[in-house]
Assembly symmetry: C3
Homo-oligomer: 298 residues x 3
């Protein structure tokens, strides 16, 4: 039994998500429909790219993902379907898939061409649902579109590295429900540039010299609980999606504050990492082993 | 396998929607439950009427729709079940169904009378779920209620037309997730009054002389993308539910603004359409054919 | 077919809930997943305790409830699984279950010990899902944890009663979607202390001498509808979960106001009940029967 997921900016109130599900069940009564998110900010492509990248791979192979953001068709915004990592994605060719595609090459990309039969102001329901049900029934992409070699890229999604590789300049791509500030700097990219060096992460007026493994690593459990003041403390982690994240321990934007509210960081703001030059080693000396515990990023 | 949908003002946080689903699965383990919306504004009957009208017909025939808005029973607020267009609706008799029923005559309306056995402060769970499961098992409406001839109407839901049919005065019935302003003027109603005449739509201090087919019709794709300034431009369309809607291209109330925030339009505000008298045709002359392309509303 | 419910503070936007569902379906394609709530305030344990207590018992026996609040494992925050009332609960041992457990004794509590194989910064997905699927397949709690005698209690969740039992001092534990103010005073507790006496409920500067059976009991239906002014009127009820609740008839925080906004009541605020001493009965006299209609709380 196929699974179809929905990631949209429809919001929680409007009828769009409900109507889309009704249309799917009308074609395929036995399919499973899973909401990934309907609360993407309207027309926010980087947010949608981040959400779908982090959610899709938990689903079984063969899952079909409908992404309904900025989906109105026009001369510059075509509809596409992609097979990648044994998952299917149906969306507009507006850059949403470029984050996933920068890591895993698509097996197949088609530009959907079933529109001659469809006049619509609700393309997710009238086009994407039809394509998803076609795939769920075992249909191939070639039947509903023509092959194209590549997708439209999204701008400024990759962090910048200077020539001598002493600095990474990334940016904030997502603020999560806890107000944590997610950057576009991935763990693997960071490690490739770091090569064991010390570093300093800067965001606004704040600096960090350590990346923790998990949020509660900032707590000193040797101090009695009633004498600790850890809630509200800032830290840096690689989050569960392996993105560098500036967080606040047990944050809540509405009460104790969050990384976003306390540091004043919003979408597109810069976060930079400076690496310390490796110490010059005088002749005849040897560096002690394991000054830096790379696996700990300390 | 039956489908039961839920449209309520329970919100996303409270336990009410979850508990309702638990109660349904306790009676019918194999039913499908689909959320249409739980974010209707509390006690807002026109909003609920708009949502259910636009969502229900995408579902398969036979679907059962629970509408949990203002559902506490009292001498003036009875519970009803309606069969209409081969769908079932269970709700309070508070006007929610009058928008749908003004377009399609109900096949059957019953006032639910199973309450003698039920003392409840949670009628959706204790009454509506029981009725829905009864219908899902193939039960008839007569078993759970007595026939009534008509439902309670909702006030001011239909736009006003003046006597010489030169003006429609409608009102805002819904603000959607993009901040688009939806009026109660439907396409069919508009066309019936328009009869090909030119028109001017007024809302606050803004006027529009054209109704576009889709949002991106306002974009001139001949101008290079980086020289265009279309985001934030106002336009009028008939939306996917065929309601006249004042929209803003790629709107976002939190960033670039929306029709609601930029025009200052809220629920119940007036939107009027004035029609230009047809030009008097002097004797012996003929009007050129197709001055107005009615199908384009231009 | 097993049911797994989700109650978390993941919010509606992030990918966490979607990814969790994907992981469950990857293990168990035929399970049913039901969202109870993803909008618990971040790290708010009393809110989560209230939501799960009010939702769980509507589900069929055997249902498995994943509660993802403050779930990062650390020396003071272990993962547990509980069997209680023929339902299963999987959560951190942070007090979330103490509200339910204060009413119904758990059949079994285990501290989950499958973590040696799992390095995770997303414990709901990596640990709770594994445990839930193990239980759904018919596995026992002993396989995934070691028995522990009791759970961590939550502080200040029970109302205070003075020594001569003339006063209850409770507190606000939840504000619902309608802005209704829910206290921690349960109907059974209230009745045990009241013993038929008159009472006065105080919250901020407001007092109430009556507890209504339902919200619309405050309406006088003998007065014509257009002469009534009942929307916005304050009242006290026992809600559908049997908690004492200060409510406003047809409230809406954004428009007419709600109990929370109109009375200025927030989480943790005090709500007290003073009981009137029973009148002294002079010798030879008898009290008339049924001065107080206890069942009406009047």
């Amino acid at each position: 039994m196929a699974i179809i997921t929905l990631t949209t900016d429809f919001g929680e109130k409007d009828h769009f998500a409900g109507a889309t599900k009704g249309a799917i069940y009308s074609e395929l009564p036995d399919v499973k429909i899973v909401d990934i998110s309907h609360s993407i900010s309207p027309f926010n492509i980087p947010e949608a790219a981040y959400i779908i990248q982090n959610a899709y791979s938990s689903f079984p192979k063969g899952t079909i993902h409908i992404i309904g953001i900025d989906a109105e068709i026009n001369p510059e915004n075509k509809h596409i379907a992609i097979k990648l990592d044994d998952h299917y994605f149906i969306c507009a060719n507006n850059g949403i898939m470029s984050m996933i595609c920068s890591e895993i090459a698509p097996e197949k990309i088609v530009e959907i061409n079933i529109h001659d039969k469809i006049q619509t102001s609700f393309p997710v329901l009238d086009v994407f649902v039809k394509v998803a049900c076609h795939i769920a029934r075992g249909g191939t992409l070639e039947v509903i579109g023509k092959n194209i070699p590549e997708i439209k890229p999204i701008k400024n999604i990759v962090p910048y590295v200077n020539d001598d590789k002493t600095q990474i300049i990334g940016s904030v791509i997502y603020i999560d429900n806890y107000g944590n500030v997610v950057t576009n700097i991935k763990r693997s990219f960071f490690e490739t540039i770091q090569k064991g060096r010390d570093f300093e992460i800067s965001a606004r007026n704040y600096t960090f010299k350590k990346i923790h493994k998990k949020y509660s690593d900032i707590v000193n459990f040797d101090i009695p609980e009633n004498k600790r003041h850890d809630e509200g403390r800032k830290l840096v982690v690689f989050n569960s999606g392996n993105f560098l994240e500036i967080a606040v321990y047990k944050s809540n934007s509405a009460t104790v504050g969050s990384a976003s509210t306390l540091l004043g960081l919003g979408l597109m703001d810069a976060v930079s990492i400076k690496f310390t030059p490796k110490p010059v080693i005088p002749q005849g000396m040897e560096l002690p082993k394991k000054i830096h515990n790379v696996s700990d990023f300390e």
